[in-house]
Symmetry: C2
Subunit: 416 residues, 2 copies
């Protein structure tokens, strides 16, 4: 991709609205823009990072045995009245009456919709288990939007729901998805603490939160410096780790995932029953499993940046390589840049070519800000002896490489 053919409006300074480091960097790097408080547009580079995160989630959810669906944002309020959650959830749920007089809400979550869907299609133990997930846009009437993509009025979630015959089935799916979450966060370049947590408005017995330590967090977690186990911050900080007796430290965190053993809370009120092997009617045993997809971008940047900009984890990066021809008026330099761009694309390596007529200093600063993993510089040295410079974002070391050898070096850097 050529810089001139996409849309990357970088900024020297962060807009006043920006609070946290990730918020500032995502705005400055031209990844997102605010439409109104709590509502953001994803520009091409931010959208590419978002899609990479979605791909990771899809792969790992599928590997855990879940099938993908897409449920509506518009939901009949009546379903929420039947579960009783229309009151519990309060004013944060957006509601309106349409022209036909139907009472509709913009679903902030989908337990009711999916339980009702499965209720209509499943009647026998032979049809269970069913595990479904979606990646979908959700809405909240949020009084205090914060930190850009962290807490907004419109955001993207991955929500999964498991339907089982018995508690053992639920335990198994809970473990499978727990393990998928660990793989997802690792591939996103995140160090995450899992903490046993309150089930809150979701209901059910057991739940775990996945928390990313971040300078500007929303919640505190107690963290054992010895065995790395996490505990809810409400526990007395004087206590030692219940697992290894190590000392606990308080860390500021962002919640990126939350999984719940729901049991029969929704299936019993909504009538989602099945006939078991003995011919007896039973409510289906459920679990639900959320990941904050759009806020993951912020969490990734919180944990992966330096003073100069973002340092994308390899799998999340909008592009893997940025080519920096330092003088675009020099035909030999641009010929080599175009040539390398074509070779990298041909080899399946995502690449951005900064073809702007800008000073070298501007290009270097922007390349660091965008956080693309490998910077390939074509400058004066190339005109002298044909060598290019290859630099990894976040490292000081620069390597002189030849145009012939560069593809192999890039492959080694990407896979090694």
């Amino acid at each position: 991709m050529y810089w001139s053919k996409t849309f990357i409006p970088t900024l020297k300074d962060a807009p006043q609205e920006a609070e946290s480091e990730s918020h500032k960097l995502l705005l400055r790097a031209g990844m997102i823009r605010m439409l109104m408080a709590g509502v953001y547009s994803y520009l091409p580079l931010g959208y590419r990072a978002l899609m990479n995160i979605q791909d990771i989630i899809r792969q790992e959810m599928q590997a855990s045995g879940a099938a993908e669906v897409l449920l509506p944002a518009l939901q009949p309020l009546e379903l929420w009245q039947r579960s009783g959650r229309d009151k519990d959830i309060g004013e944060v749920m957006i509601r309106f009456t349409d022209r036909k007089g139907r009472k509709i809400c913009l679903g902030p979550t989908h337990e009711e919709v999916i339980t009702d869907l499965v209720r209509q299609q499943v009647s026998s133990y032979k049809q269970l288990p069913v595990v479904l997930y979606q990646i979908q846009t959700k809405f909240r009437d949020e009084l205090r939007p914060r930190f850009g993509l962290v807490r907004g009025c419109e955001f993207i979630m991955k929500d999964a729901y498991s339907f089982d015959r018995d508690e053992q089935g639920l335990d198994k799916n809970y473990q499978l998805i727990f393990a998928a979450y660990e793989r997802i966060f690792k591939r996103c370049g995140l160090g995450v603490l899992s903490v046993e947590a309150d089930s809150g408005v979701m209901g059910g017995s057991v739940s775990h939160e996945f928390m990313v330590p971040a300078q500007e967090g929303e919640d505190n977690v107690l963290f054992c410096a010895v065995c790395h186990k996490g505990f809810p911050a409400k526990e007395n900080a004087a206590l030692n780790c219940s697992k290894c007796k190590g000392k606990l430290e308080k860390v500021s965190t962002l919640e990126v995932g939350h999984i719940f053993k729901l049991g029969t809370k929704y299936s019993s009120v909504l009538g989602a029953n099945f006939v078991d092997a003995q011919g007896k009617m039973q409510p289906i045993i459920m679990g639900c499993y959320g990941i904050g997809v759009s806020r993951l971008i912020s969490a990734v940047v919180e944990q992966n940046h330096d003073a100069n900009g973002i340092i994308w984890p390899m799998e999340v990066a909008p592009y893997k390589v940025i080519i920096l021809p330092l003088d675009i008026t020099e035909p030999k330099i641009m010929e080599q840049a175009n040539n390398l761009h074509a070779r990298l694309e041909g080899a399946g390596v995502t690449v951005l070519l900064d073809d702007r007529d800008e000073r070298a200093g501007v290009k270097f600063k922007d390349a660091d800000l965008l956080g693309i993993n490998l910077q390939l510089v074509i400058g004066k040295q190339f005109l002298k002896d044909g060598t290019l410079e290859l630099k990894e974002r976040g490292k000081e070391e620069k390597n002189a490489v030849t145009a012939e050898g560069v593809l192999e070096k890039i492959r080694a850097a990407l896979h090694g």
Copy 2:
């Protein structure tokens, strides 16, 4: 994928709500389910078809030079008041006031939002052209939802917007996207008529609609039987084709795309200007380009089915191959089925294995209904002489194949 691990609730009869043939088949094949009138859930198979269509659109839009973004569904009503369209668009646009008193609408389209975004980032002719697109969920307070995914209250659109320095630039982008549309619809297995059309509430000078002939259409188009040119139905049907003088016939159609030369309608009222090479301030010249992504599924099924079910065009099919072991209690049959499933997945061929304990007749009927391209039957003949049966959906011919030779036959059938 194993049938038992996904969620395919097929139906013998279509629910009463179903009107058109595509609506009936999508419900019966377990691709979609209605949540309320005009609002549908995509089940795993329907979602796979939807994602395949989205992939085709992404590839062709990128090939035309457009970059992908994602804009919010929540929009400040104030932007619509500035363009004057809050009145033009009327009650079909969903509006509400949030807890902070902000007047918000659920955007049925994004001209205002994207013009305002580009206005803030672009100031010089050097930054133009910019061509952006998104695939995004839109909302309408639709009084008369129809035909399932064809006309609903919540639907997915691809909308693209071009920003140019001059009319020549707009003409070029309009042609590029017109050509991309022709490739998209062809890859979706659709015969489409392009018709010069009214610009309506969008404004601007020139516009073209892309219309799919369908038994249960929404609009009529006049179609030249000789040169295949299409004309709006409001023209007098007695007239002959203006291109070749051929006789015109009236056909019922569904609109799947609409492209507009907007000119400066939005840029001038919203102040999206740039400084040209002569230093003069000018409004940016715009175009906009829509595709009804979710209704494309219905259009594809309208044009690609028979009395027994769907016949997916190859690139849209949720799976390319369905394996039908006719007796799952016979270990030799299931061993071969599992083996073939693994080999096909290993070869990158998407495959569904019907591992239900159902009669052969049920499996055949459902396989025809789902419309997966290649049916691979493992039945009694396999126990006798080791041969399988390979059948193409929509064709009568059945071919006996060996387990060793089947991968090659499948490759040949998939690639033409």
